[in-house]
């Protein structure tokens, strides 16, 4: 493959993003007894399933309203209604998240009107909660689709009308791995906090082997917890680049007076400390010794390996929130982030990156709305030593002959994408060891004699 250079900003070459309905489906998979449905043609649902399955290596059922030529011309109401009834009768879900697609948005099918109309026709005592979200595939990225879905879920289901008291907290992790979410839950529990994690796909997309296959896997945020989010003491948002329409925390604040605390992705010691201090305040408890020890071991390892890292140059790419978190983590261990790129754009990404770089380190090249032709071009001139990001950077790493540390989503060319730990002291430990070891491996491989000890 020839080396890419970005020419004029017309064609996208090897995108560093996926589309909004995928993000919505991912968020919907984190609700208890839920099934996502894409209102559009069959292909999107199948491709999105395939993509999610590739990363999580789990069955991921996503229904489709299976548009045909006729529905594209006459409107998709019949298909949508039929799809909803069939999904209800086959899966018996408690929740159906309905995401629009490029097609249904363009022909003007209005889910905000159609979904309630369907709901009003349902008979019987129980029917699932239905949450529509507008995710035209031509706007935003999978990250914005994810947050829009979370916002819609809150908008529809958080119904408790009275303001905050008690110690319950809401926490919105953004696109993290199931392992991250599990770890965050462990931390919250160790602080004795009652919480609503939205969404929570830690079990649904990383389910244990079981003797029977259940199409709706156990786990996910209970709908009753979502209903009472308006009573929480605070909402912690682990993403820092959300626009108003995507910020569920802001919605809870305006509607119910629950204060929103924007934490950002807690990657690395600095940002994790911030999170732990907040949790300590909220719970009125000291930081549990277990985490003090984790932090201590992490610092110990920083010291052991600091020389292998200092001044090394890294290219970081992926969803905005993840890139911001990783940038501050790498800067904290003496690595110079030289390119920070995301397929998404706007909402203070640039400023957040700049703020993550301490004085004395050169500012990185920041790319928004980037594809891999731009990332590769920037990486080539930056003299980068390694890349940190999802599988999309494989070609770049191969071409430049530098290691790729796989993080985030999607990881399609390795096993265990769902178990990559990014956040907290434990996540930093995992990333740190991996980065150092990859650099040592490269030293060994590149050396004519090889080293048995470092």
């Amino acid at each position: 493959m020839k080396l890419l250079t970005k020419l004029t900003p017309t064609a996208t070459q090897n995108a560093c993003k996926a589309c909004a309905p995928l993000g919505a489906c991912l968020a919907f998979r984190g609700i208890e007894a839920a099934i996502p449905l894409i209102h559009g043609s069959q292909g999107c649902a199948t491709y999105i399933r395939r993509y999610l399955i590739g990363h999580f290596r789990e069955p991921v059922d996503v229904a489709s309203s299976s548009f045909s030529e006729g529905s594209a011309i006459f409107g998709g109401k019949d298909n949508l209604f039929k799809a909803l009834s069939n999904v209800i009768s086959q899966y018996n879900p408690q929740f159906i998240g309905v995401a629009s697609s490029c097609l249904t948005e363009t022909i003007g099918d209005d889910l905000e009107r159609l979904v309630p109309e369907f709901e009003s026709q349902l008979t019987g005592d129980f029917h699932p909660a239905l949450v529509p979200v507008a995710t035209p595939s031509y706007a935003g990225t999978h990250d914005s689709g994810f947050h829009s879905a979370v916002h819609s879920i809150i908008d529809r289901l958080a119904i408790e009308p009275y303001p905050g008291f008690g110690r319950a907290v809401n926490i919105m992790p953004g696109i993290l791995s199931p392992a991250d979410i599990r770890y965050l839950k462990e931390i919250l529990e160790d602080f004795g906090l009652v919480y609503t994690m939205l969404p929570d796909y830690s079990d649904t997309l990383d389910a244990p082997a079981a003797s029977t296959y259940e199409p709706i896997p156990r786990g996910g945020t209970p709908i009753s917890s979502i209903a009472s989010m308006g009573r929480a003491a605070a909402t912690l948002v682990l993403s820092s680049t959300l626009s108003k329409q995507m910020d569920g925390g802001a919605l809870l604040e305006t509607r119910f007076g629950v204060p929103e605390i924007i934490v950002g992705a807690p990657i690395g010691i600095g940002k994790t400390d911030v999170l732990f201090n907040i949790l300590s305040d909220l719970s009125g408890r000291k930081i549990p010794p277990k985490y003090v020890a984790e932090r201590g071991r992490l610092i110990d390892s920083y010291v052991d390996a600091h020389k292998y890292l200092f001044g090394k140059k890294a290219v970081i790419y992926g969803e905005e929130g993840l890139v911001i978190g990783l940038t501050s983590f790498l800067a904290e261990i003496g690595v110079f982030p030289v390119v920070c790129a995301s397929g998404g754009k706007g909402n203070g990404f640039q400023a957040a990156i700049r703020n993550s770089i301490p004085a004395g380190i050169d500012q990185p090249t920041i790319l928004e709305g980037a594809d891999f032709s731009e990332i590769t071009a920037a990486a080539t001139t930056s003299g980068a030593d390694f890349l940190v990001g999802n599988s999309g950077g494989y070609g770049t790493s191969q071409r430049l002959g530098i290691p790729l540390i796989r993080v985030g989503f999607p990881v399609l060319d390795r096993t265990g994408g769902q178990r990559i730990l990014h956040v907290g002291y434990r996540g930093a430990q995992h990333l740190f060891d991996q980065i150092v070891n990859e650099l040592l491996r490269k030293l060994q491989d590149d050396s004519p004699v090889g080293y048995g000890h470092f």
């Binding site: 995108a15 559009g40 069939n86 086959q90 097609l103 706007a139 079981a210």
Partner: protein, 452 residues
């Protein structure tokens, strides 16, 4: 499990009721079909043309999800492994994106110097009314390469319709290059996609037989070869689902006959090569073919017999895109001493299902356009040891604690030809005999599973 009313006639148990299976229908809304869309059909067929530019005109999703997704290898250029898209945004949808398409094509053609360009227009492009055909014409004239519109909006039919659209694009390339040097004993290999290098395996057999290969369509494909494919004497069609339309068109237009073959399994591969040799009516070629089959079979049989000893009596389930592959798999499994208890396809037609019914054992479940719920309940009911399907099916199989073999376009192991049969046997053996299955399921543990 409740089978959706609309789907009941798409499932058949051999030995049960008579009557034919319903198929070739659009997927039922709300049924989680394993199928993809028209765009997907066209994309998979054209994907391996390695020196062409493949530009997806639409929002980013379709391009992202098909980026380098398949193991279709190239012996030279690798332009097909890139993902190009016009990445439509809101403004494009409102005001139209013809100019964006035009500029994208110009800049990409200037940068990558492809031999041709395929422009796939996806779902919304049809709706917003971009005149893709005239943009393609214009760019073709300016850049002096073929620029072919592939109008494949996802909703306009099924994956099969996408195959047809792709075949038409290929057909428009044929007939545009000189064929003077092509010998009379020549073929086109149609419908092999060079997954994990399979086209190379097949091509090598034909060369050893003394058959000249003009074009491989589309595995390891080259634009110039496709342009002269009308010079071949015979078309040998492997993936009938995707390529029969092209073969028929070539017959109508250039009077080239075609035969349908399969390169999966020993019997089918040998039959394919003999059919071609017989077609040319050349005794020495037939003798060479016999020798080739003898050598190749001898080389793999000892290993296969070893596996078969372990696999005797094990049961397999098959869910694949096309029916022709399913026939071969049933036979290949028999070579390993195994039975097939479930077989389904995404796109079979009535004759396909009739033939499946003939070759399967009594009790076998035959299903058209299945969904995960149905597949799982049949897999459990039939007590299979291994599931043969694609990546979406892999997750199901593993979740149920079953062995799995990827026989889809995304596999990384060559399964065609004699050597492919050896690889297939190896893979089936490796998955069924792995010691890990004894850990699943764990019945004596506290429930860690799922709600009912």
């Amino acid at each position: 499990m409740e089978i959706l009313k609309d789907r009941r006639n798409q499932i058949h148990r051999k030995g049960d009721e008579p009557g034919s299976i319903t198929c070739e229908k659009a997927s039922v809304a709300g049924s989680v079909s394993q199928r993809a869309c028209v765009f997907c059909g066209s994309r998979v067929v054209l994907y391996p043309v390695a020196d062409a530019l493949h530009l997806v005109h639409g929002p980013i999703g379709c391009a992202t999800y098909t980026w380098d997704i398949r193991g279709a290898l190239s012996s030279g250029p690798e332009l097909h492994r890139m993902s190009f898209s016009t990445d439509l945004n809101e403004m494009d949808v409102v005001y139209g994106a013809e100019q964006k398409l035009y500029h994208s094509l110009i800049e990409l053609i200037d940068a990558y110097k492809p031999k041709a360009a395929f422009v796939y227009s996806t779902c919304i492009v049809g709706l917003i009314g971009d005149d893709v055909v005239s943009i393609c014409k214009k760019v073709a004239a300016e850049k002096d390469i073929p620029v072919l519109p592939v109008e494949a909006p996802g909703f306009a039919g099924t994956k099969k319709d996408g195959y047809k659209i792709a075949c038409d694009a290929l057909l428009s390339l044929a007939g545009t290059a000189n064929t003077d040097t092509i010998s009379a004993k020549s073929i086109n290999i149609l419908g092999d996609f060079n997954i994990a290098g399979e086209t190379w395996v097949i091509r090598d057999y034909y060369q050893r037989m003394g058959v000249n290969v003009v074009a491989t369509v589309t595995g390891d494909g080259r634009v110039n070869d496709i342009q002269k494919m009308h010079g071949a004497t015979l078309n040998v069609v492997q993936c009938s689902g995707s390529m029969t339309h092209l073969a028929r068109s070539l017959k109508e237009k250039y009077n080239i006959p075609f035969i349908r073959v399969s390169y999966f399994g020993i019997e089918d591969t040998a039959a394919a090569l003999y059919d071609v040799a017989r077609f040319f009516g050349d005794d020495s070629m037939l003798a060479r073919t016999k020798e080739l089959v003898r050598q190749e079979t001898q080389a793999i049989m000892p290993e296969i017999r070893r596996y078969a000893r372990d696999l005797e009596g094990k049961k397999a389930a098959i869910y694949v895109g096309g029916a022709f592959k399913a026939f071969s798999l049933v036979r290949a499994l028999r070579t390993l001493g195994m039975g097939t208890v479930l077989v389904g396809t995404q796109t079979g037609n009535p004759e396909d299902y009739e033939q499946l019914r003939e070759i399967c054992d009594p009790g076998t479940i035959i299903v058209d356009d299945a969904n995960p719920l149905e597949l799982c309940s049949f897999l459990k009911e039939q007590r299979c040891d291994v599931f043969i399907g694609g990546v979406k099916e892999r997750a199901l199989a593993y979740k149920l604690g079953l062995g799995f073999c990827d026989h889809n376009h995304e596999r990384k192991e060559a399964l065609a030809g004699f050597i492919g049969m050896r690889n297939f046997a190896r893979e089936i053996h490796a998955t069924i005999m792995s010691p890990i299955w004894k850990f699943v399921p764990r019945d004596n543990c506290e429930d860690s599973g799922n709600p009912s």
